[in-house]
């Protein structure tokens, strides 16, 4: 291949290195108004009254709205949320009113002048406690909420989804096991921390046509959600996402757009803008849900796992419109990438008075694997085999069956494992850097599938220009992962024209074609396939015209370097430029007209799993498998962990752009490392104690260990050129691999993230005392 598999330079590179790419917060429009938000100081409180009169008297204030202006509930899978609180506030920081003013400073000052009376309600700030029968209800009306039919809320409780997986007979499995172990793990809330915070501008024309510019991953999904929430027909609502400064899931749904739209509706055509501060981002954008996991494992003496029983209790926060699906994804992936005959899983999405949980890179997988992969090491040690052996014995291989009973056809897990064992030199003992240091190496595996509706669709349009160049239109959003470049490469490959001749345009629901969402590591796979089909369509049209022009059968034609060429008579060829606007005959007449390639794609044959058992023969588009190895050392006096090296390998099907793919894996490692070592939203009674970079630390360049990444390529049949998604899976094994390596180094097992020096030291002391 000419362009696929090559490290083509990013098509958005020049704009980004010159600082000339305009992100939404860089937009300044004439007569723009600025928004500030009044937020609830209580985690759970009835709103008795809101008095905006003093705020409205402040010079420069144009409008104040509250939730009463639009009381209709919305949500992606479960309609449980309002953009501005209606009746009561369910988490600390929830928007209760919003101000539009001539400047940010005025809007901020006005917010202070809004008077809100609350009746404080008992709050529930722990998911396990929230499941108790007498717990305060966050959503007493859950039974009335509209919900997609694949989710199972339990009205009258705080459980907004109870997912069940029942494979085989777990009790029989435990009875047959030589050993049964049970381990518990806890993963706290973390935040995505894109460097660009959430931001949006909305403007409504006099004729009711609404335009929204938002830093969002999924313009079409946002359009749909806003259309439903505000009763605006889709042809009167345009969503544009000009650039996204990092998403990681946090910009997948709708957040602040719904706050500014009512203000735009009432501002007589003036654009209205809201940009979150970093503090807002921590509290009011999505956060990653917390997880209490219990894993019970039945294993035979020979290392074969015969039964697994999981209980996952997810802290979904105040609204779980999106979170219910994370809980489902975690449920059907709960066996991990292992072949286990008897699996019994209950995965609960639980409302609490905490910040809103939502999609975060990995979509539940990082959280459950923190338990699954540590559990495996614990079990292996208990029965006297190595972590590698237990994974070789139980790891999925072609011919095996997943937790939902699906037959595994393509799976490079064992090859990935081999690569990381090699790259981390797992068997080579190496000295620590000093007398107070202990060194440890370990591994972890991981898997993930795109969690999306079965019929999640992609589309693409290619317009050929009369000079032989092309415009590629998609709504797959380049949120940093490099999709603009990947889409360009795929189109270039099919049409055999250089990538510089293709301009990609994205993110405008009026002008770029439908894309379900830029999430789920599905863009290279799904949008890439739509681009492939669009380019093939354009090619087919070119061949139709070329066979007339050249007098050869179209079956004998091929695309070569900007020409349509006969494979039999290589001198018979015609340039794309000559046919781009149609075929012109010698007499000046023409046929066909401009070439526009159209491609649409839905992953084939994904079917709902059985509602009662969760079993299904093809419930997801594909699984991505991989492994990581970690080499680290622990300071035994301070408890500090220094990660020295991480090796990562994934089965990507087909590498489209090696350099950018490396970047995905490298970035994922550091993000995983951050959650393992530092990151946690410290919540006390519903209040975040560390909602700034001062006390919420993410890794810096100085924390970067040596990174070694590699790939395995077992092609995905339905993907473009065999490619499958990897951006999220790449983060999944990092935290448990680090935890496993800490065990190797100092013999302590930490069941909660993050692995802070303090926890490490305390665990070491506790271990010393018990000796």
């Amino acid at each position: 291949m000419k362009f696929v598999g090559k490290s083509i330079k990013r098509v958005d590179g020049v704009k980004k290195v010159t600082g000339s790419l305009k992100y939404v917060d860089d937009m300044k429009m004439p007569r723009m108004l600025y928004v500030a938000v009044k937020r609830s100081p209580h985690p759970h409180a009835k709103i008795l009254s809101i008095d905006p009169s003093e705020a409205l008297r402040l010079k420069g204030v144009k409008d104040v709205i509250t939730g009463e202006f639009y009381t209709k509930r919305g949500g992606l899978y479960l309609e449980d949320k309002n953009f501005l609180a209606v009746g009561k506030a369910r988490y600390r920081g929830e928007a209760v009113a919003a101000v539009a003013a001539e400047s940010e400073d005025i809007a901020q000052a006005a917010v202070e002048l809004i008077k809100v009376e609350y009746e404080v309600l008992p709050a529930v700030t722990n998911a396990v406690e929230a499941m108790a029968p007498n717990a305060p209800l966050v959503h007493p009306d859950l039974g009335d909420y509209k919900v997609a039919p694949v989710f199972f809320p339990e009205p009258g409780t705080n459980i907004s989804n109870h997912y069940k997986l029942r494979k085989g007979d777990v009790e029989k499995g435990f009875a047959e096991a030589d050993f049964v172990f049970e381990n518990k793990f806890y993963v706290p809330h973390v935040q995505h921390v894109p460097i660009e915070t959430h931001t949006a501008v909305a403007q409504m024309d006099a004729d009711g046509y609404l335009t929204v510019w938002a830093s969002c991953q999924s313009p079409y999904a946002v359009r749909q959600a806003l259309s439903a929430a505000f009763d605006i027909p889709l042809n009167k609502l345009r969503v544009m996402s000009p650039a996204v400064g990092g998403g990681f899931g946090s910009k997948a749904g709708t957040t602040l757009e719904g706050i500014i739209i009512p203000l735009a509706m009432r501002s007589n055509g003036r654009p209205v803008k809201l940009t979150y501060s970093r503090e807002d981002e921590f509290e009011n954008a999505y956060v990653r849900q917390g997880l209490h996991a219990t894993i019970k494992t039945g294993v035979r003496k020979d290392g074969k796992i015969v039964a697994v029983q999981n209980e996952f209790i997810w802290d979904g926060g105040a609204y779980t419109e999106y979170g219910v699906n994370i809980v489902k994804a975690a449920g059907y992936a709960s066996a991990g990438p292992y072949d286990i005959d008897n699996v019994h899983t209950d995965s609960y999405c639980v409302y609490t008075n905490h910040p809103v949980g939502g999609p975060y890179r990995g979509f539940g997988m990082s959280e459950i694997h923190f338990g699954i992969e540590q559990n495996l090491d614990i079990v292996a040690e208990q029965i006297g085999i190595s972590p590698v052996e237990i994974r070789r014995i139980n790891g999925l291989k072609p011919g095996g069956r997943t937790g939902t009973g699906e037959l595994v056809e393509v799976c490079g897990l064992m090859e990935c494992l081999d690569n990381v064992i090699r790259d981390i030199e797992l068997d080579k003992e190496e000295p620590a850097s000093g007398p107070n240091k202990r060194r440890g190496k370990a591994i972890a595996c991981g898997w993930k599938a795109p969690s999306m509706p079965n019929n999640a669709a992609s589309s693409a349009v290619i317009k050929l220009n009369e000079d032989g160049t092309a415009h590629l239109l998609v709504s797959a959003q380049d949120i940093g992962q490099g999709s603009d470049t990947v889409m360009t490469q795929i189109a270039a490959e099919v049409l055999s024209i250089s990538p510089e001749k293709i301009t990609v345009r994205t993110g405008d629901t009026d002008h770029t074609p439908y894309e379900w969402q830029t999430v789920a590591s599905r863009i290279t796979y799904s949008a890439g396939r739509a681009v492939y089909e669009a380019a093939q369509d354009a090619k087919a049209q070119l061949f139709e015209l070329a066979q007339i022009k050249l007098g050869v059968y179209k079956r004998d034609l091929e695309m070569r370097d900007g020409f349509i060429v006969s494979q039999i008579y290589p001198d018979r060829k015609v340039a794309i430029s000559e046919l781009a606007l149609g075929l012109t005959f010698e007499d000046g007449s023409g046929v066909h007209g401009p070439i526009i390639g159209r491609g649409s794609f839905i992953p084939p044959n994904i079917r709902n799993a059985d509602k009662k058992t969760g079993l299904g023969d093809h419930p997801v588009a594909f699984w991505t498998y991989g492994a990581q190895g970690v080499d680290l050392e622990v300071d035994v006096e301070t408890g500090h962990i220094k990660v020295l090296k991480v090796a990562s390998c994934f089965d990507v099907g087909q590498v489209v752009n090696p350099q950018m793919l490396e970047g995905q894996l490298e970035g994922a490692i550091l993000q995983g490392m951050g959650t393992a070592l530092f990151e946690e939203l410290m919540l006390k009674d519903g209040k975040i104690l560390n909602k700034s970079f001062v006390d919420y630390k993410i890794p810096t360049s100085d924390d970067m260990p040596e990174l070694v990444v590699s790939f395995v390529e077992n092609p995905e049949e339905s993907g473009p050129y065999g490619a499958r998604g990897v951006a999220e899976p790449a983060m999944v094994p990092t935290a448990p691999a680090i935890a496993n390596a800490v065990y190797k180094a100092v013999g302590i097992r930490l069941s909660t993230m993050p692995l802070t020096p303090e926890k490490v030291l305390a665990a070491m002391k506790a271990k010393g005392q018990t000796k």
Partner: protein
């Protein structure tokens, strides 16, 4: 940010007069890396911001045979990279370079770091160990404040209304010293605990940050060290002389443990001659 008047006086007298005129609403601006964030967050609401960077004499590091003097608007990178400071007080240089990021240190000043009176001011512990002296200009003339009398409580100093710290003076001391800082992340983080241990000609000096409402010296521990007491005794004494709290960065218990570990390691390092004199 709330409105305020901005002044850039060119003399200390002018600055002090402004400070007096605006009373509690007057705030001095050295580097601004703390003040501007506090103003953004609405924690400090000045009616006047008085920028000291227009006062030429405050912007220099001066030295003579006996001492080194760091002016009020000298930034932390200038302190950290100063040749004499690097030679004579490497632990002070290290402390200066341990604050924030490079960008922050290009603005933040050593004097600002002290005047914030944060319990965890990184440059405070070496200066405490050095018995540094703050030179102060005020409405009633100039005076000197020994650094151990300077910190009163969290964000509170012994400065009187209208007083401005011109700079800090340290006497060149032969000896070996170590600065160590323990933080969650190696770069750009606040101290969970920081410490300076100095073996001067006249004996040991030991100071800690982030273990009490102000940076502290540990005189009893110093005395034990001077007497050549056993390590265990020294370490327990150090723990008894500090009063850390629980916060988001670390627990009291962990901090106490680290007070010992850092001291033990500091002593080892000095014994090995690892630190420069």
């Amino acid at each position: 940010m709330r409105p305020f008047e901005y002044f850039r006086p060119s003399s200390l007298k002018e600055a002090s007069e402004l400070l007096v005129r605006y009373g509690d609403g007057g705030h001095l601006l050295n580097g601004g890396t703390d003040l501007i964030v506090r103003m953004r967050d609405g924690l400090t609401l000045p009616s006047a911001v008085i920028d000291l960077k227009g006062i030429e004499q405050l912007s220099r590091i001066r030295e003579d045979e006996e001492s080194v003097y760091i002016g009020a608007t000298v930034n932390l990178n200038q302190v950290g990279r100063h040749e004499t400071i690097g030679k004579s007080f490497p632990y002070l240089a290290e402390a200066a370079l341990s604050v924030g990021s490079k960008q922050v240190r290009n603005r933040a000043t050593c004097i600002g770091n002290l005047c914030n009176a944060s319990p965890l001011a990184d440059t405070a512990t070496p200066l405490m160990a050095l018995d540094a002296v703050l030179e102060v200009f005020g409405p009633e003339g100039e005076r000197e404040i020994p650094i151990r009398d300077f910190f009163v409580f969290v964000r509170k100093t012994s400065l009187k209304p209208g007083e401005i710290v011109k700079g800090v003076r340290v006497t060149k001391t032969a000896g070996q010293g170590v600065f160590t800082k323990l933080a969650r992340r190696k770069e750009v983080d606040l101290s969970m605990v920081c410490m300076t241990l100095l073996k001067a000609e006249d004996g040991w000096r030991l100071s800690y940050g982030a273990v009490a409402p102000t940076p502290v010296r540990l005189p009893k521990t110093e005395a034990l060290l001077n007497q050549g007491a056993a390590l265990e005794e020294v370490l327990s004494c150090a723990v008894s002389e500090v009063k850390p709290i629980d916060d988001v960065r670390a627990s009291r218990e962990y901090r106490l443990e680290m007070v010992k570990v850092m001291l033990k390691r500091g002593l080892e390092q000095i014994e090995k001659g690892g630190a420069v004199s």
